[in-house]
Symmetry: C2
Subunit: 292 residues, 2 copies
């Protein structure tokens, strides 16, 4: 079978055996935002047509490809949901030469009734369940970071934080960004930002401190982007981490390493998972649908 993790900015495909072993991979910077005029069928054929020609006939897809801006919109499934519920709600997509099924995203709502959504993360988490055990906390950092509670092998609740996108906007478009030079993350400055998040005062006040520390020569231009990153991630971790415990991180390795630092500072423990969770999740959901 073929598993496809097709997001906003990237495309990853895995050729797998019936029990989920990965025997081929493709990756391209061909997220749904980079496919013009709805040309998803042609794009998919270019990426995995060779595997189909070699006899693969089953393709399972997850991610933003199932959103309103994607190929076919798959309605959100409510929490709680695990591999069985996801497998029972797959959405077919017509395609010549192979059978295509789409994993739906999930929805939840917070205490005040404001909706939550994910697309793609549910599949990565489904791929982690064996390592995670029945219960746990998973964090998927990024533009829209997700904090997910798993209970009894199913996703029972999740919350999203706009930290990554807020960082980019504040850096690009405020006076704080004008004081920042590019460069690798400075771990000491990042840690200072994380520590600042624990101080009295609101994030909107702490943000102004990035400016004044620079003005008074206490934060260098090469340090202030790292400090801002630590400040935002520190605020997110403190708000999301209800209690000490273990957080399983899924995502790009450098970002996971930063989150692990902030989680440790907050008194919890982080375990960074490998990056093939999506492939394992696609395989597991397909198997739960008795499809392989």
């Amino acid at each position: 079978m073929i598993g496809v993790d097709w997001g906003t900015s990237s495309f990853r495909a895995f050729r797998m055996t019936a029990d989920g072993a990965i025997i081929g991979r493709r990756a391209a910077p061909r997220g749904i935002l980079h496919v013009e005029n709805g040309g998803f069928a042609a794009a998919l054929r270019e990426e995995i047509g060779a595997w189909i020609a070699e006899g693969e006939t089953r393709v399972i897809l997850s991610g933003m490809i199932g959103s309103r801006q994607g190929w076919v919109e798959a309605p959100y499934l409510p929490c709680p949901a695990g591999a069985a519920e996801l497998g029972a709600a797959l959405v077919p997509i017509p395609f010549d030469g192979a059978r295509l099924l789409l994993v739906p995203g999930l929805t939840d709502s917070d205490d005040a009734g404001t909706p939550e959504v994910m697309r793609g993360e549910e599949t990565q988490i489904a791929g982690l369940l064996e390592q995670l055990g029945e219960d746990g906390i998973v964090c998927l950092p990024g533009s829209h970071s997700k904090w997910v509670r798993v209970t009894g092998g199913r996703i029972t609740a999740f919350r999203t934080y706009l930290s990554g996108e807020a960082f980019a906007a504040i850096r690009a478009d405020t006076i704080l960004g004008r004081m920042m030079t590019d460069g690798p993350t400075d771990p000491a400055a990042f840690d200072r930002g994380v520590a600042r998040a624990a101080d009295h005062g609101h994030l909107l006040h702490h943000l102004f401190g990035v400016r004044t520390l620079g003005l008074f020569g206490r934060l260098g231009e090469a340090e202030s982007a790292s400090y801002l990153s630590g400040l935002l991630i520190g605020h997110e971790v403190r708000a999301a981490l209800a209690r000490a415990g273990t957080v399983h991180l899924i995502g790009a390795a450098p970002l996971c390493a930063l989150y692990a630092r902030a989680i440790a500072t907050a008194g919890a423990q982080a375990i960074v998972m490998d990056e093939d969770a999506a492939a394992r999740g696609l395989s597991r959901i397909a198997r739960s649908a008795s499809w392989t």
Copy 2:
């Protein structure tokens, strides 16, 4: 005498009698960012040269004109400070045909030792002291909103919130902004954002809700900028307002009206002050310096 409130984006001048009555006004979109190559002397002469020719010889200036990016840098004065301390620390600027004195800005530091700064607001507050009485809370909303405590007729502490600039950056540069249309503030949507700020959860989580409420058809494109504004101002007011009481607002009338709504929702009372506080403050500081 002549008083000049010269900020980042605007220039305002007042011709006043010795006891502070305003007998002439000028305003121009000629903030320090719009004056090229340090041509502050020429710009000032264009704006108030006629008054000098008519016999005015004393000019007192406040605002970002005294910053590192301005004409002459006036070192920050530490809190507590009132009109007497400001008047004793005026910085002269050489100028043909008139005597120019610059009001310094103020500095403070928060509980954790992070610096705070203001330039111009100290003068507006000095102009309010008679109406305010000896003690009070003043809020000056804007890109960098200031919340100021006045005790015994002097500014004793202040905190800055980056709310206005964060609003602009999030609107310009995130997926939230792509769902917003321009238009006048929608009071009901603004109030929903203010109410949301009181819900459990962090601002970074509440921000993501602007997206999902739109996605689920519960917040229209014409409403979501107002909701975001209410969310940020609501967070700021809740963080800054230590206790119920009266907040004196100084600033542009439409923005003060929005802050007054959010302050009332938080259980306190707001009084919007008139916009000539800067002129009165310049006159009062000049008088305390025995200069008129």
